[in-house]
Symmetry: C2
């Protein structure tokens, strides 16, 4: 009956009810464990969870305090474009518009952390939902990460999906912005030049080497949502 989620709920209630006000130190784990009649580990689990979600701040020796300006943490689920389309109940397809070795432009070189002019595999893809343009993808891919140096057939499986399945867990960062579509981008997506597009730029790395830089454009109507 008293699990760590119950403890979390009660702590949450006290924060909400302002029984514990922002900035104040709350009782220690041991004290709460006694009060709630649970083990200290159970309290720890609950408080750790609340700290992860930004509501509490915990420091050794200093104790646990209620965050003054809680930074809310929202989690985005970055899925394969195919999954995204299929989740809407639409049929997915994609077309490779270009694929070639190409010297990276400066903007990309900077983000990938390589010298300007280094040759990378350049892949341009149009993702379709029910045959209509859904997203336009431009990608630079470090050929060094391809197993055996063999370039896969991105016409069969999109680069997006192929990488997730074939190149191991990576770290990276993502940035979102709104931009006006360039002439080429607009043409690919069937929009007017300058139309607002939702831009996702993603850079991924292994421990040492850059893997890929992707610039993904979604046309009007696209919404990126967080999962509660």
């Amino acid at each position: 009956m008293t699990g760590w989620e119950d403890v979390r709920a009660e702590v949450l209630r006290r924060i909400r009810a302002r029984e514990w006000v922002p900035g104040a130190v709350i009782p220690g784990e041991e004290a709460l464990a006694v009060e709630f009649g649970v083990a200290r580990a159970t309290v720890n689990r609950a408080l750790r969870d609340l700290a992860e979600s930004g509501l509490l701040e915990r420091r050794r020796k200093a104790g646990t305090r209620v965050a003054v300006l809680p930074v809310r943490k929202a989690t985005l689920e970055i899925s394969i474009i195919r999954q995204e389309v299929e989740a809407r109940g639409e049929r997915y397809s994609h077309r490779v518009l270009a694929q070639r070795m190409e010297a990276v432009p400066m903007a990309v070189a900077v983000r990938m952390g390589v010298a300007v002019g280094v040759a990378m595999l350049f892949v341009e893809t149009l993702h379709l939902a029910e045959g209509r343009p859904f997203a336009h993808e431009v990608r630079w891919l470090n050929p060094g990460v391809l197993p055996g140096g063999v370039v896969p057939d991105f016409g069969a499986v999109s680069a997006n999906e192929w990488l997730v399945q074939n190149v191991a867990y990576t770290i990276g960062d993502i940035a979102f912005s709104a931009e006006g579509a360039s002439r080429d981008e607009a043409a690919a997506l069937g929009l007017a030049e300058g139309a607002p597009v939702f831009v996702t730029e993603r850079m991924t790395w292994t421990a040492e080497a850059p893997i890929t830089f992707v610039r993904l454009l979604h046309g009007p109507g696209y919404r990126l949502r967080t999962m509660v």
Copy 2:
């Protein structure tokens, strides 16, 4: 020397090295605990962490398997606009452009889950960085959540910040999109009509009642980033 993070690192290595391929069931917690010479709880902590980040899928009785299409989970830190501006080393200020009770339009009523025409507190704010428009905010706020029914002075502390500090932990969802600025929005942000703007829409609730619906517009140059 062998903490749960070490266990996680080793499991990660095996996934990366494809010793455990996507879709395959990995050894049970007990077996891994024996192999690594740690307690089962330690293995559990490590595997739970990997499952939370989307790399493993766990089900009772079925065991733990390597995710076939790992859904990457990116965490966004949603901070107060003032913090965001100050983090850039710029001076923050804001102006309340409008504040009145107003019947919610249908689009907002639907999202807030209230009847069309219900009166909410409407607040329009312009956020400035170094005196230049940074973001335009339109907010509908349920007056029922105001302590004592008193409307705070949003000219002193922005509604954004006031709510975080005075209304307790909430659940909500956020959606991001790119749109063309309307005439009024463009005017507020000093842009041309139809210019691409980055739109953040946030809806928050307490357990039962809607708290607030916000529509936040950022002009060109704004980028929303994830933390690694």
